[in-house]
Structure formats: C-alpha cells, structure tokens
Symmetry: C2
Subunit: 330 residues, 2 copies
Amino acid sequence: MRIHIQNPADDADFAFTPVQWAAAVSRAADPGHLDVSFASDEAGFAAAMREAEVLLTWTRIVKERFPVGALPARAPRLKVIACNSAGLDRLAPFDWLPPEVTLLNNRGTHARKAGEFALMALLMLASHIPHFATAQRAETWEPRFGSVLAGRTVCIVGLGTLGGAAAEQARAFGMRVLGVRTTPAPHPACDEVHATASLDAVLPRAEFLLLACPLTPATRGLIDRRRLGLLPRGAKVVNMARGAVWDQDAVCDALEAGHLAGGVTDVAVPEPLPPGHRLWRTPGLIVVPHVSSDDPATYNDRTLDILLANLAAIRDGRPAPNRVDPARGY
Amino acid sequence: MRIHIQNPADDADFAFTPVQWAAAVSRAADPGHLDVSFASDEAGFAAAMREAEVLLTWTRIVKERFPVGALPARAPRLKVIACNSAGLDRLAPFDWLPPEVTLLNNRGTHARKAGEFALMALLMLASHIPHFATAQRAETWEPRFGSVLAGRTVCIVGLGTLGGAAAEQARAFGMRVLGVRTTPAPHPACDEVHATASLDAVLPRAEFLLLACPLTPATRGLIDRRRLGLLPRGAKVVNMARGAVWDQDAVCDALEAGHLAGGVTDVAVPEPLPPGHRLWRTPGLIVVPHVSSDDPATYNDRTLDILLANLAAIRDGRPAPNRVDPARGY
C-alpha cells in the first residue's frame, strides 16, 4: 500500500519522522507491505498524490489542498485520508470529500495527557487558582481556601477519549461524575449518564462542568447563556472541546458577574486569540493555547499505531475504528 | 481536663465551633472527662487562662499572648498548648515556652488536601501553566506542549505529612520520586531517600523540585543560589514549605534567566506579599496565598481528632504523637 505523510514546513514538535514510522511498523501485529514517502513542501505533495492510496497529514493541510471538487484530479488513487487530530470540525462541511474516500482521525491518541489535563483543571478550580492568577495580575494577596475533590459533582459533556479519560480521573479522586452524551449508554467511570436532550436537568447539579465533546452542528453553541444560568451559583467550568461549543461572551459575563467562580479553557474563538481580546482579561479565567491533550513525547507513536491498526482493518474488510462519519462530523 | 479554645475575632473559615467540638468528642475512642470553654476576645482569654490546662489556638495568638517569661503568671495551670498549624516556625525561638508545657501541632491534618495541591502543581508545571499565565498577562497566544508525569523525576524535600502525601500522588502518576529528609530512612512512596547532607548530589537529577519541609534553623536558606544552579536547566519548582526555605530572589533570577522553566509557590517572604513586590511579576511563577493544604470542610474536624488522640496519650503516659520538639523546631 502506497502511503504519503505530508508534514507542515514548520512544526518541529509534531512532524513525523522516518524513524517514528519504522518503529510503528515494527510494533504493528500485521502491517502488510507499506511503501511510505515523506514531504513537507508543495512539490513533494503534488508528486506523491499522483500515486498515494493513503495520506496522513494535518487538518489544515487537507483544508488547503483539497477545496471542493479538487480531490479526484489531484489524488486519483487516494482511498484514505488520516488526520493527526481527533476533532475534524475544521474540515466540515464535508462536501469536498468523495464518498469513496475514507476519512480517519486519531481518536485515542490523547487519552493519558487529556486525563491529566482534566484532573489538573479540576484541581486548579477546586483550589481557586484562576482567582489567584487574577489577583496576581493586580498584585493582591487574597487567600481563599479550597476543598479536596472527593464528594464534589462534575458534569462531563462528551464521553469519547477526552471525556472518558476525564471521567476516570475525576472518579478516581472521589468525585460524583455525571456524564452527558448523545445516547445515555452507561459508562464505567460515570455514576450516571444522561442524553444531551436531558442536559437542562443535569446542569443545576454541576458544581463543575467540563466540556469534552466534538464540535458538530449538534454541539455548536450547546452551552448558551440560558444553560450557563442553569448552573448553580459558584460553579466552575472547563472547556477542552472547542470554543464554539459554549457562548464565549456569556461565559465572560457570568465570570464577571460572579455567577461562575472560575474557568479554565484550552480553546478559544478565534485561535490564536488576538491581543486585546476580552477573554485574556476576564477575571477568574485561565486561557491555555490549545495544548491540553497533545504530548509530543508520545503523540506521533500513538497516532501511527492507530493508523496502522485502521489500515489493517480496511485491508481485511473490517470496519475502521477511527472512521469519521461525515454526517455526524466525528 | 480543663480545655480552652481561643478563636481569633475574624476567621470565619477556621474558627472552632461547639458543634465541631461535640462531634469530635463523640468520635473519640476514649475522650475521658473534658471541660471546654470558647472565647474570641481578650477578656475571655484572660479569664480562661486562670484555670485552663490545655489551650487550643492559632500560632499568632500564642505569639501575641505569651512573650518571653509571661506564661507562668498568665496561665499557671497550663500543661499543653495545641496549635492549629503544622509549621510552628513563627513561635521560634522557643525561649517563651516553659519546659513543663507540652507544645502540640496538628501534623496529619493536611495530608489529603496537600497531596492534591502537590499533584496539581506538578501537573501545572508539566503543562506549562505558569508560562501561559505570564503569556495571558501579555495577551499573547504562545503554545508550548507538555508531557504526562509518568517517567519524569521529582525531588521532594521533606517527607512529613505534606511531602509524604506529595510523594504518594507523584508515585501514583508514575513519577520517579527522590525523597530528601534529615535521615535517609526508606519511605514507601519514594524510589530513593537521601539525607539532606546529600542534597547536592540529588539536585542535578531533579526535573521537578518540591519543597515540603518545616522551616527550622537547618532548613532556612536550604535552597540557595548555588543549589538552584545545581538543578538541570529547565527544571521546575514548587514551594509548599515556607518562603525562607529558598532564596526567593535567586529563584526569581533563575526564572528570569530561563534556568528554571516554571514555578508554583504557596509561600512568600513576607506574607501577605505587598503590591509591587518582585515575586508578583516574575515570569513563569504562580503565587498562591498560603492556602495549599487547608481544606475548611475537614480542617477543624481533623485538628480536633488529632488533639483528642494526643490528650488521651498524655493522660495515659504515652508519648504525644504531635509533640513539637523545641530543639528541632518541629
């Protein structure tokens, strides 16, 4: 199988290397024959696409190189596009994707790091760290005592890799975990799981709200001003999903008014967030530049292992575990 | 036994209540007969001291009310002073304390909260949160990717309640834990334990350094400029001990120079830290106002349980587990 890996020109942290590829192939149970090429420039991409059956690359490269209608001519033999991201919302709508081309994400890569980030954010909120960061900007010593996590209630929206890992950590620290997802199937790390349609009934119980769902037409604006108002006064919020899942201005208003007591967000609209944006200055909010779930030490190895497992499944006629359904968006 | 609890006039979070006292007595295995009084004013204190055999109070109240030589006349029947703190460094030197009066701390109260704070600080440093907080002040989006804790090395100085709880959490997350304490007896959560005299040999291996020792003549200035220089470039530091355990200016210099890559400190010199102090503005440093280990939801219950266990030991002629040795200072 003819595979091309297109790296960006400028990403020292996450560019795939031939050494990483060789190691992944040696780890794979049954890789079959795989013929790989690498490029990081336009000419290398164009040349490789004439033959490639599989492309592994960044969502922004897919977005740039395959405008609507372009793919069949530019990459006539392409059967699989694999992205090194879990959330492919920037590729929606999927009208550029011919139905015979399978789109894969790297769902599963982020579990350990995302779980640690989620736990960190919950501990930071329980210890009022966003409040202290705001006080530090004003150079004021404002003690406020926090409690341990045990016995507190967190609502986690989305129970995929990120939300599931968050739930496991929260549960291990004795929290009561209320999961919310499309269908309310039980989850081993959740005390309760509710359907998204029941979200309004869950929010009043959420001392902590953690967002970890994909951004899709169904989740865009899910946590709007009205739903923020359903949270108990003093609730604390974490966003590891996408900035557009909540109403960012309403979150800022709720923090300024004291309805929310603190927040940690790994995402923003827009990214990168420009100087002068309100989010930087909102009291009790810590802004993290979209790095919560990506551990450079393990990221490419995990991504390649997942890709090879999916290619083996496709080769053998089994369902690819990481196939993205364009109709659902994840 | 005649016990007096002197609350400060102004501490709604931690003032002891008769309800808390009654609950603690009901939990105690063998409390014996205990006759308790409460006050929060000067007159109540003076009256109670004429009869009290045990005083439970704040270190600052002990400091104010018992200058050198004053105790025998003011509290002629006093046998035990119990403080609702673990670190009694503000009472040193102990020349004000008659040798027949036993001084108790509440060591053990802080374990769960301190362990969660220590873990939070390590996770924050691994995820570059102090760097992002500094970038947020400048309103700049500066992604930097972090790794999970597993496989990283932390040196923990002090293995009492705080350091032991920190070691347990670090170990649970797969870190290599190098403990440092007065005598190098093994500790169940440490991969290695070294004597303080060997600190210089341990520091070059410490990707993370966490201070959790009492402040005593032996630890004052322990982490000086020279020892900070022994840490590997890019090391990260946490101080849950006392500000005077490290050379605060040298820490700021090392952060500004990039020798240290981040810090979280729960302590400062002086406290409260005044506006305009250099510590507030040091890049990559998060200043927390001395709240790391105090959970109001459980603090008084734990403190009272520990006091009652110590009083039972004293009554029965056993050693009091929380007795502070004035010669060691802890």
